[in-house]
């Protein structure tokens, strides 16, 4: 069945082989790791995508699925398995649900999609999502340096492979620039569409600079 493509923010330019669907929790405690993923992926020459780009209106599920289908890769961070502390305490189902969508899409089109699972703790996924037993899970220990290290394990470039230190420099730059980007967007949250747009450009500019300084 031919899928109707729904509009998203930004323009769909060129091949989507660089697009990576980033499935992460949008909470304040995760900002550093969000920046780390953005820095690491951009340093690898990839283009992070997230449901932050999805505007309201159309059915969110359709747009999420559409976004996953546009991406060559997807990263699913399942490190936030705790129940949300804010009342009423609720477990988060979005991330495992979106992983399920990606798995199904990869089953349907094995050559068009590859998914990766990231976690903070070794072996925890065996309890939280035992259906993934036997799957290689990338463990980042809840640290940006862990994310950089695992990203370089997951993705390899024959030319211009960035080092973990270069990724760290991009990450530090993003941390420094984030307050200004949030001020420009008139928000106090890093998880806003405009901030995410600007972050990707900033990460690209920083990675370009640090790669040429190599």
């Amino acid at each position: 069945m031919r899928q109707k493509k729904l509009p998203l923010r930004g323009k769909e330019v060129g091949a989507t082989d660089v697009d990576v669907f980033l499935n992460i929790p949008y909470d304040r405690r995760f900002v550093d790791l969000f920046l780390a993923y953005t820095a690491g992926l951009t340093s690898l020459g990839l283009f992070p995508r997230a449901t932050l780009e999805i505007a309201g209106g159309e059915r969110r599920l359709d747009r999420t699925l559409d976004l996953i289908q546009r991406c060559r890769y997807s990263l699913h961070d399942l490190s936030r398995v705790e129940v949300d502390a804010s009342p009423a305490a609720t477990p988060r189902f979005n991330m495992p649900f979106e992983l399920g969508l990606a798995v199904a899409w990869q089953r349907a089109e094995p050559r068009r999609h590859t998914w990766f699972v990231f976690e903070a703790k070794t072996r925890r996924i065996e309890r939280s999502l035992s259906d993934l037993s036997g799957t290689d899970v990338y463990i980042h220990h809840g640290r940006p340096s862990g994310i950089f290290s695992e990203l370089t394990n997951a993705f390899v470039r024959s030319q211009r492979q960035p080092s973990v230190n270069q990724m760290k420099l991009v990450y530090k730059g993003l941390r420094e620039g984030l307050p200004k980007l949030m001020r420009n967007a008139g928000t106090k949250s890093a998880f806003k569409a405009r901030v995410f747009d600007d972050l990707r450009v900033l990460a690209r500019a920083l990675s370009e600079r640090h790669m040429t300084l190599r």
Partner: protein, 73 residues
Amino acid sequence: MPSVEITTPFPSIEETAERAGVSPSRAREIVDLAEGISGKVVRSGGRRVVGRGAAKKSRGIRKRAAKKASSKR
């Protein structure tokens, strides 16, 4: 651990901005911001920061000493 090889070329800053829906003028501002950021050298250590408490205390000591000195005159 399985890994995938990326063979696609690095997207340019302009292409990244276009795909992210960032206008060329805003992209230029962000590039300027990046230039400013990456030029800075962050050092650990450096000048020792004296706590405000110590400053307050020394101000208080100076104040009392001055009062004492003026009462003696």
